[in-house]
């Protein structure tokens, strides 16, 4: 066969291929669109994040020491380095905790960075979201002028020109005006406000420095080493290191999105496989004729491979264009969620790559249909007019599936840049497909074997068993009750509804189980999308609801006021006018760093510290990061703790240096015991004190309260905290407030004591809502792509089924059923697929939540039954809607055409 002739044959065959060819192309196009959209979105976001690393780092080197801020004296190190000619500029910034009332009248906590501009920013101007040509020095030029991060602007509901009062400890309240909003420069949600140092007096004393930015003369690496030696507890980062960290983060992010896109392509590829299968079944006589004329399998592989290439080219082009369109939506969602200002840049390279990917993916998924088509036995087919396409041999089938899996792995490895990840993706997907397909086959078989009930008494007995199951699940696993309730309804329909009314149900169940293999594949593809969406959304929604409920209803220690030690009385006095206060406890707090433990310098332990304690999840570095002093003489006592050893503190300890410490310190490497002494030094001065351990305590997770986040871990008498903290010690008053008065009382207290920092759980609710809300948006957009691929496969399956069941539809019509009735059968059949997918998704979500609750969160995360019902309804409705679109035309077939002796 000449090339021209072959090309003509290929193009005309595809043209004649009609719906199946179109469906095959559509499926791959949807998958390609997913990959392209995610690639463009991730590239745009990544470019924004790593475009100005030096500015984000603040200079050639940044030094951060939030836990133990640098004193004014510590800054001499930088002055010396400047004199020595090793650095050409430096600037130090202080960090203050502050609050302001947001547009929803909630108190929003955030960080204020107090800077001297110029020389700040040393690393170059940060990118301004608004005004786009903003400069820090200009934006901070007048008293009260501030610049805020995008995330904080969102939290406050503020924009350029917004005015509000900022409160901080020891201050008198600073009226600020927003003059600039900064772009985010990383994935973390920075809630920061930048204030000019000379105008920050109203915010209180900013005498310690949490960040120092440096521009070096020589290579930054050696100076970074010097600074690490000088400040061992600080984090020192060069621009190169910042870039590496950003790239690692961006790489993971891009890889994750590519992985999602490949999953969508894999699911969509199954649709293509189905469609091409159908295409070749319709052409079986033609293929048999070609073989009868002497065409060998190799020639047919080339012809059909050529068809696949053309389909892939079409799918690649359509997918690339569609992907470019979808990328605008995804990029917007990602940018909103990450508080980034991005400019969408569509690079032609991924678009061209998408065309190649389309061809590659179509060829891969065409392997099975092509091999199967060329296995036709022409004699049988040409003589009998049917048969001849029986698929013989499981080994051949499995071999071909393995081949397709390996080819897709190779494709995925190219896209992901990681063979291991590609193998994990394909192997995981195959395993999941195998398990779910088996499960579906089982469900369908059971459904077919069970219904309809042959005798009324037996049917009623089964109904009673199902009702008992409903009662049990409603009590114990509420979401699963939705699934059992569905089974009860279906069974009741089969049992009580007259036979002519339940015919559609009967036809649906029988049709599904008759085409078990394809139904299972469609179900699994659809399920993947529904499950991905259901899991991500329900986990996020459940978490949000749980956290919100826990925080909103917490009536214990839900409001905290922090102030200089001299302001404690003012806070208590002001709190008497609050309507919802049930109780209050005032403590004196000194922020400390450990000097020695039982006579051994703390630095000895520094290299051996675990970053996180496995049992209590308490950062061991922080177990000595401050003293909480109780007024023991007045009967004030530590609460909500359990003694692991020793005794608690009492009035007899008043005026003494007896302390309680976290039981973590009993374990290696500290191995402290009762009677040992600990020397602590204040973070903002050289004052220190030695505490005598009289007890070790454990704080159970369940008994932790909002207030416990603000009280440091070394518990002692007030006099001990005063001795170390001096005038820098802070008063913390922890209130228990009626939740219904919380927001009002918090705002009232903040206004009454502007020099205090008032924080309440309502603020956390607002932050949790914002962060999780944005996370939900991103998850929804990303999982929608997978669901989109599943949707394409369902549409594809319905379209093919309509072609294959043309005669059946015509027959229903010939005996008097109307289009509407036949369409009803199809809708019910596919709604059943959706319901099954929804039910299994609910099951999957329940299992996932149980696992997350047990292993990740260590607390029960509930699964709202309403969400379970929503998933069921959504999956059922979507499947039925797709079926409606795909079947509406085909059910209009004229019976006379379909029933002729084809």
């Amino acid at each position: 066969m000449s090339l021209i002739f072959a090309l003509r044959y290929i193009v005309r065959s595809l043209w004649r291929g009609g719906t199946p060819a179109l469906l095959a192309m559509t499926c791959i196009a949807v998958g390609i669109a997913g990959i392209v959209a995610l690639q463009i979105a991730s590239a745009t976001v990544s470019n924004t994040l790593i475009s100005n690393v030096r500015a984000a780092n603040g200079g050639d080197i940044s030094l951060s020491s939030n836990a133990s801020p640098l004193s004014a004296g510590d800054l001499d190190v930088f002055r010396s380095l400047m004199r020595a000619g090793r650095i050409r500029g430096w600037t130090a910034a202080s960090t203050l905790h502050a609050t302001a009332v947001g547009e929803n009248h909630d108190l929003i906590p955030f960080e204020v960075e107090v800077v001297s501009s110029p020389p700040y920013p040393l690393g170059g101007e940060p990118a301004f979201a608004s005004p786009s040509n903003g400069r820090v020095e200009t934006a901070l030029a007048r008293p009260g002028d501030v610049v805020v991060s995008s995330f904080l602007a969102q939290e406050l509901g503020a924009q350029i020109g917004s005015r509000f009062v900022v409160n901080s400890i020891g201050g008198r309240g600073l009226m600020v005006v927003i003059r600039g909003i900064l772009n985010q420069t990383n994935f973390s949600q920075d809630d920061t406000m930048i204030v000019q140092r000379r105008y920050a007096g109203a915010l209180g004393r900013a005498t310690t420095y949490a960040n120092v930015f440096v521009n070096t003369v020589g290579p930054p690496a050696s100076l970074a080493a010097t600074l690490r030696d000088a400040f061992p507890s600080a984090t020192v980062q060069t621009v190169t290191e910042a870039l590496q960290a950003d790239k690692a983060q961006v790489h993971d992010f891009q890889q994750f999105l590519t992985l999602v896109g490949l999953l969508a392509l894999l699911i969509a590829g199954i649709g293509t496989l189905n469609a091409m299968q159908s295409m070749y079944v319709r052409r079986r006589l033609e293929i048999a004729m070609l073989k009868a004329m002497g065409y060998r399998n190799v020639a047919l592989y080339l012809l059909f491979g050529g068809e696949a290439i053309i389909l892939g080219l079409g799918a690649g082009v359509v997918g690339a264009l569609l992907g470019a369109l979808i990328s605008t939506v995804i990029t917007s969602a990602l940018a909103a969620a990450l508080a980034l200002q991005v400019t969408l840049v569509i690079d032609p390279r991924p678009l061209l790559g998408a065309v190649g990917l389309g061809v590659g993916a179509t060829l891969i998924f065409a392997v099975i249909p092509i091999v199967r088509a060329t296995s036709i036995r022409p004699l049988e087919l040409l003589r009998e007019g049917e048969g001849g396409m029986a698929w013989r041999g499981w080994t051949k089938t499995i071999g071909l599936i393995v081949l397709v899996a390996i080819l897709f792995m190779a494709l995925a490895a190219t896209e992901l840049g990681s063979t291991v990840l590609a193998v994990e993706l394909v192997a995981g997907a195959l395993a999941a497909f195998a398990v779910l397909t088996g499960l579906f086959a089982l469900v369908l078989t059971v459904l077919e074997r069970i219904g309809p009930p042959r005798s009324r008494p037996a049917g009623i007995l089964v109904l009673l068993v199902l009702l008992a199951g409903l009662a049990v699940t409603a009590q114990r696993v509420t979401p699963l009750a939705a699934v059992v309730a569905l089974a009860v309804v279906l069974w009741a329909v089969m049992l009580f509804v007259p036979v002519e009314r339940r015919l559609p149900m009967l036809v649906a169940i029988r049709s599904l189980s008759r085409r078990q293999a394809r139904t299972s594949v469609i179900l699994v593809a659809f399920l993947a999308g529904v499950l991905a969406m259901a899991i991500s959304l329900t986990v996020a929604i459940s978490l949000r609801n749980q956290i919100n409920t826990a925080l909103a209803t917490a009536a214990t220690n839900n409001l905290v006021a922090i102030a200089n030690s001299s302001s404690a009385r003012q806070i208590v006095r002001a709190s008497h006018s609050l309507t919802g206060v049930r109780s209050r406890q005032a403590v004196l707090v000194a922020q400390t760093v450990p000097v020695s433990l039982d006579g051994r310098p703390f630095d000895v332990f520094a290299g051996r510290l675990p970053s996180n304690d496995g049992d209590a999840s308490i950062d061991t570095r922080r177990t000595l990061g401050g003293v909480t002093g109780y007024d023991l003489a007045q009967g004030s006592r530590p609460t909500n703790l359990t003694l692991a050893a020793g005794r608690t503190l009492g009035s007899g300890d008043s005026g003494h240096d007896n302390i309680l410490v976290n039981a973590v310190l009993m374990r290696p490497p500290f191995s402290l015991s009762l009677g040992d002494r600990i020397v602590l030094r204040a973070t903002d001065s050289d004052r220190s004190g030695s505490g005598h351990i009289v007890g070790f305590y454990v704080v159970r997770r369940a008994t932790r309260t909002f207030g416990s986040f603000f009280t440091p871990p070394v518990l002692a008498d007030r006099s001990f905290a005063r001795r170390i903290g001096g005038s820098g010690a802070q008063s913390i008053v922890v209130f228990s407030v009626d939740p219904t008065h919380l927001s009002t009382d918090a705002a009232t207290l903040q206004r009454a004591v502007p020099g205090a920092l008032v924080v309440d759980t309502a603020a956390l609710v607002a932050i949790v809502n914002q962060v999780l809300g944005e996370l939900l948006d991103v998850l929804a957009v990303i999982t929608a792509l997978v669901l989109g691929a599943g949707t394409a496969v369902v549409g594809n399956g319905v379209g093919l089924a309509m072609l294959e069941r043309r005669r059946e539809i015509a027959l229903f019509k010939s005996v008097g059923f109307r289009n509407r009735s036949v369409l009803g059968f199809v809708l019910l059949e596919n709604a059943l697929i959706g319901t099954l997918a929804g039910a299994l998704s609910v099951l999957g979500v329940a299992i996932a939540l149980a696992l997350i609750s047990h292993f990740a969160l260590r607390r029960a995360v509930g699964f709202d039954p309403a969400v379970a019902v929503m998933v069921l309804v959504f999956a059922t409705g979507l499947a039925a809607a797709i079926a409606y679109v795909a079947a509406r035309g085909p059910v209009g077939v004229r019976p006379i055409e379909a029933l002729r002796n084809e």
């Binding site: 002519e500 029988r510 008759r514 229903f812 005996v815 008097g816 289009n819 029933l899």
Partner: protein, 225 residues
């Protein structure tokens, strides 16, 4: 003379083919009296199946009238036509056309669900199946039945709503001679017992020989007997 069960008057059927129209039926007229069995013969492409489709209400003529049981059906709206088909016409096809997912009994019940037939569907359908000799195959699916049995299920389905007219398009075309003869025997006896009017298309002279008369269709027109 009594009113004919079926009266076909000047039926013309044209179909578009590209920019032209081709004539499938060119003015066909005939009557069928109650209880009559008429064979429709003619070469492939002569318009037999098209004529049967029009008579059955599955297709509409370009012009002309089809009066079945006193009702002009060629211009009935689709909704009424569907209901009319279910109650007034039984159809048997060469390829049986049973619903593969339903049992023999359920297949036979199908038209009853449309007509909202009063009484017990299952019992009635079972009775009809017993009439065609398949009382022992009630719960078998089409794939579990022989070709002859499938065609008898198709006949039972066509008769279950007691239509005045049975239309059969090459009913023995897919059967061996023995099964074909048995089926024709069944149709003859049903006609005799139930007074059924039957119009069947066939290429088979032996089948046509069992009819009361034969209509010969050639190039869309009826030729002489």
């Amino acid at each position: 003379m009594t009113e004919p069960t079926l009266s076909v008057r000047d039926v013309i059927k044209e179909l578009p083919l590209g920019s032209e129209r081709i004539s499938i039926l060119g003015g066909v007229s005939f009557d069928l009296q109650a209880g009559e069995m008429v064979a429709l013969m003619g070469p492939s492409g002569s318009g037999k199946s098209t004529l049967l489709g029009i008579v059955a209400g599955l297709d509409r003529p370009t012009s002309g009238d089809v009066i079945l049981d006193g009702l002009e059906i060629s211009r009935l709206p689709e909704r009424r036509l569907a209901a009319f088909r279910a109650s007034h016409v039984g159809m048997v096809f060469q390829a049986y056309n049973l619903i593969p997912t339903l049992t023999a009994l359920e297949n036979v019940q199908l038209p009853l669900f449309v007509t909202n037939h009063n009484g017990h569907h299952a019992e009635h359908a079972q009775h009809v199946l017993e009439t065609v000799g398949l009382g022992h195959r009630l719960h078998h699916r089409p794939s579990q039945l022989s070709g002859g049995e499938q065609q008898r299920v198709a006949v039972a389905r066509a008769l279950v709503s007691a239509p005045p007219l049975l239309i059969a398009d090459e009913p023995t075309g897919n059967l061996d001679s023995e099964s074909g003869a048995a089926l024709m025997e069944l149709l003859s006896s049903l006609r005799a017992e139930l007074g059924l009017t039957i119009l069947l298309a066939t290429h088979n002279d032996a089948v046509a020989a069992r009819a009361n008369r034969v209509l010969r269709l050639r190039d869309g027109k009826l030729a002489g007997p």
